[in-house]
Symmetry: C2
Subunit: 312 residues, 2 copies
Amino acid sequence: MEAIFGVDIGGTNIKIGKFVKGELVEYSSIKTNKEENGKYIMSEIFEEINKMLGEDTIIGLGMGVPGPVVNGVLLKAPNLGWEPFDVVERIREEYGDIYIKVTNDANLATIGEHKLGGGIGFKNFVFITIGTGIGGGVILDNELHEGVTGAAGEIGHIRVDFRNRRKCNCGLYDCVERYASATGLVITAQEKIPGRNTSLTLENLSSKTIFDEAKKGDEVALEIVDDMVEKLATALSQIASTINPEAFVIGGGVSKAGDFLIDKLAKRFQKLAFFPVRNTQFRLATLGNDAGMYGGYYIIKKEIEKDRGYEN
Amino acid sequence: MEAIFGVDIGGTNIKIGKFVKGELVEYSSIKTNKEENGKYIMSEIFEEINKMLGEDTIIGLGMGVPGPVVNGVLLKAPNLGWEPFDVVERIREEYGDIYIKVTNDANLATIGEHKLGGGIGFKNFVFITIGTGIGGGVILDNELHEGVTGAAGEIGHIRVDFRNRRKCNCGLYDCVERYASATGLVITAQEKIPGRNTSLTLENLSSKTIFDEAKKGDEVALEIVDDMVEKLATALSQIASTINPEAFVIGGGVSKAGDFLIDKLAKRFQKLAFFPVRNTQFRLATLGNDAGMYGGYYIIKKEIEKDRGYEN
């Protein structure tokens, strides 16, 4: 049988899905081997795919990598130790003339959520993934919009304060991910907790503990969440004024806070956004960490349909 | 002969161009009659078109209106006194089954600049028009991106300060147009001039006098321009992180400051933008107030080509 593989390379795990006739038939998660600047990663992925392949024939591979990609060439992936690297070429060396697509991991997750998750039914939406950092992807007219250097949807680096209060890993100040990611929530908590009456302690801080206490009504935890919501809603209002999408789909670990987060975000957004874009919808992502793997399948499926003109 | 008309309705003048075989053959500018909530505007446009038409046959009309448009329906144009109004339907009543397109004026100017002006050669760019306010339009993959409620490119309402210093006409605070439009420049000048040693006087302030003095090296004028540049470069860096375009094309009255403005803007943008988008190009618009009228022609030309499949 013909098999398509969706692969999502993360900083800790690599998720590999095998799809036959539109169904996920096998799933694997392997550790990301970061030894020697990640030089073993690709061969370990191939090894795993070959094991999963069995008697089937690989006809396509869609892959997400944690860094900007232009025409299949990864520019940089600091989390893996990868420098500029032609990922498509490397896959081609292994599997020859199959369908290959490589893109940024957030973009791939965006495609997954579009086809099978929180983005179903939207022709134009922005996916925002909130974890250690903040990433995203943009779907316009049902197509992924990658941007001229593969950096569209890098909304974690939208500036939301002008006092140079928090320096970002990217070198700029006051990027939204310094306030509204899991990391940002913890920094805000560290600023707000000392001397206050709260169930939160500096020793056991995470986005989960902060949201859990906020849901119970802890005043300091609520302040921390409100600060995060203020900054994220600000960034989303900028995005809405630029591309006026139908919806924002919120994923990543922090989105496990669920409707509690989404409701606050939508409410604050309506106050901060320019009036014609105020009705932009808010949805939770539904695929969790598997979004990229599914996206890898769908990006290849689309290529095949373009070529063959039928559902695969 | 078959004639296409491009019409751009502004708050002061209406520009009408007649195009035959791809050439502008006649041009007219009439006053915008705002009496009785602009109820005479459309019939005065038709009258002028009929005069210009002569022996020719009108086959298409592309029109720009100063307000958001969804599927040919204008939502509101406060400058004209127009409430929700189906402009396409009104044109159809007059001319029957011809090609008709109606969109926001900044969007139409964006198409004009794309085909014939500062946007030539770019598949993805953002047009920014800086006048009394700030508007814009977005071209993605060579197509105008209007957004789900026609508000894409409304970048004048991106927030660039968080101290609620200047209230915008839209009801929000600290929109970029309150700092970086001609109006914004004058407000900043009024704040900075008193008690300072400068050639600028409160009596004779305009974006032109401010830029003229800045070019001569007046320190206060330079401060005013730098403040404008800071705010606009901030907004453009947000846009670049979202859609990662090839270029920004700057038009509108304030862009008459020319390379002096563009060079400052590009330089500051490179400092404020996320690294993968730092090389976004900056260009001056070239069509001035005629951009919308040309855009009106090209938006119809495209429709006709889609139907007939040849150059018209």
